[in-house]
Amino acid sequence: MSVLVLSPWNGRISLRLHRHALVVAALLLVALIGVSVASLMSGSYPLSLRGVWQTLTGNPPEEIAQTVLWEFRFPRTIVSAVAGALFGLSGAILQYVTRNPLADPSLVGVSQGAGLAVVSAIVLFPEMNLVWRPLLAFAGALIVAALIQSIAMQRTGGATMRFILTGIGVAAFIAAITNTMLTYGDIDQAQAALGWLAGSIHAVGWPEVWSLTLCLAILTPGLIWSARYLSALRLGPEVSIGLGVPIRAARIGMITLSVALAAFAVAAVGPLGFVGLVAPHLARRLAYSGVGQHLLLTALTGALMVGLADFIGRIAFAPVQIPAGILTAILGVPVFLLLILKTQSTRQL
């Protein structure tokens, strides 16, 4: 295995880079750009590759291309990629911290918590400013995460499978509350909320682009800082303590980070299922690497998944748009089942 070691600033930070993983990351990036460009080109107003390039560089072939590309397709493409990356990262962190290969924000109720907060806002306070959505989603998700943690952890201090089962129960409960909200709400608001819950990306615009970019900018330092703790935590609590990790604080910090990543993504595009579950596993299959690079690969894989799901949903049954959430579920479940079949840790129960 060829490994590059970079240690700038007199070795204050050193990076171990696996060459194979770097190649895979580059390939994923190329694929992501390919999907994004295809996504920019296609739609009810098709554009040629040249047309896309001309529009993006400032001299559109037609006036309408300017609007279509800048107002609709470009924000949508960016948001789907960034949200996918956030979901993937959230799932990866959750899997490291809980040492559970099946952990996923949409499976254990974190996404549903964020969803409930946003749906309540849509139904109860329809005039509310969109700016508050990410924060509300974060609050909702955090409450659910705390709840699951406190229920699942009390007895044996970290039985991972109980965490998942508790999450499934809590997710069902929250989904029922969300459904009540929808029944209670006005039909128009309920429709809006339903579209959002299905995980549709077609309604996004520049505000979502900026909010997601801001989130990414805020959370990335946390991610980089967290890589070292994650690499300790995944070896188990005993080893982590031996390595001098304050595990309680690290765990809470990491889970909060994971919840934040998922919540901000949910606030923008709705609760897309299974991305957080599948992306980390695909990334691990694609290349062997350390935690830091694995996070990078996961982000790229997640971005590619959601970008692809959105693209397929847009063109497969045009003019009907299939929400990306439906496609991620259809693609994600078979992978999930494969994981159940292969996972050794199901024996832990």
Partner: protein, 328 residues
């Protein structure tokens, strides 16, 4: 049967009758209990209250009794045969499988003959059951509560995505089924009830006949073999009963989650480990439970009515979490 069982049965039946009357009495217009009784015993066509009771409320109360009993007994059998405290038609995906097939048949192929609805539901439930158990059994460690629940959750998510997809592609045909898909006792035609009834009665009778062997199975496969039970055959028959009961419940009321989870556990607390008592007590308790839940569904946000399936989920999901905590 234990002493508590003998005392309990009349009490349960009294509770059933009381809940039944209460269920009919409440609604947009409250009908006094004695009028309810009059309407049932001495029907007077010119009395508006009597018409409301027999035409609108009585069918709904009957549905609640039948669906509650069917789901509770299905849950009891599943928990007994698999020795899995979390087994339930909803959690393991059988309800979604049954409703998926019904939705597709009604929406895409315009099947409207009510005779086929329970049959289609049974088909869906059977295929889903085979899939979920197949996946769970193939997983390392075998079909533990965890693998079964995970496989059930996965299949549920998968089929739900397809239902949403079908709904998006053909709004008109599927809109009619939207409310039904959340689990509701409102506005079902009596034709479906008529066709679902044979399945329900067959399933219940089979469950009662199997109860003795299921008691042995609940103590473990080896014990059951030692007691002279043909394990494979009993499991197969119990599954048949579960599928028939699930199909009848789904045909009448759509997927109503967690009813089959809660009730058998309560029944077990009351009557102990003997399935000859658990099965009938579950049936009665399930009926009472669903009647009360349906009253709540109509009253809590009145005049808006919440789908009964939503309320059963609201009550059942915390119970599921508690079971995970207490039993696993």
């Amino acid at each position: 049967m234990t002493k508590a069982g003998w005392f309990g049965l009349p009490a349960l039946l009294a509770a059933l009758i009381l809940a039944f009357g209460w269920h009919i009495a409440v609604g947009a217009k409250t009908v006094p209990l004695h009028v309810v009784l009059e309407a049932l015993v001495a029907y007077d066509k010119s009395n508006f209250d009597h018409v409301v009771v027999t035409d609108l409320r009585l069918p709904r109360a009957v549905y609640a009794v039948l669906v509650g009993a069917a789901l509770a007994v299905a849950g009891a059998l599943m928990q007994g045969v698999t020795r899995n405290p979390l087994a339930e038609p909803g959690v393991l995906g059988l309800l979604t499988g049954a409703s998926f097939v019904v939705v597709m048949a009604v929406g895409y192929f315009q099947v409207i003959d009510p005779a086929f609805i329970p049959l289609l539901a049974a088909l869906g439930a059977a295929v889903t059951a085979a899939l979920v158990w197949g996946i769970a059994a193939a997983a390392p460690g075998g079909s533990t509560p965890l693998t079964l629940v995970l496989a059930g959750a996965a299949i549920t998510g998968f089929l739900a995505a397809f239902i949403s997809l079908a709904h998006l592609l053909d709004q008109e045909s599927f809109d009619r089924l939207r409310v039904w898909l959340t689990g509701t006792l409102a506005g079902r035609s009596t034709d479906v009830l008529f066709w679902a009834l044979p399945w329900l009665i067959g399933g219940l009778l089979l469950a009662l006949l199997l109860a003795r062997q299921v008691t042995a199975l609940a103590m473990g496969d080896e014990t059951a073999v030692g007691l002279g039970v043909d394990v494979a055959r009993v499991k197969m028959l119990a599954m048949l009963s579960v599928i028939a009961l699930t199909a009848a419940a789904v045909a009448i009321a759509g997927p109503m989650a967690f009813v089959g989870l809660v009730i058998p556990h309560v029944a077990r607390i009351i009557v102990g480990a003997d399935y000859r008592a658990i099965v009938p007590v579950s049936a009665v308790l399930g009926a009472v439970y669903l009647l009360v839940v349906d009253i709540a569904a109509r009253m809590v946000l009145a005049p808006i009515e919440v789908s009964t399936g939503i309320v059963t989920a609201l009550l059942g999901a915390p119970f599921f979490v508690w079971l995970v905590r207490a039993r696993l």
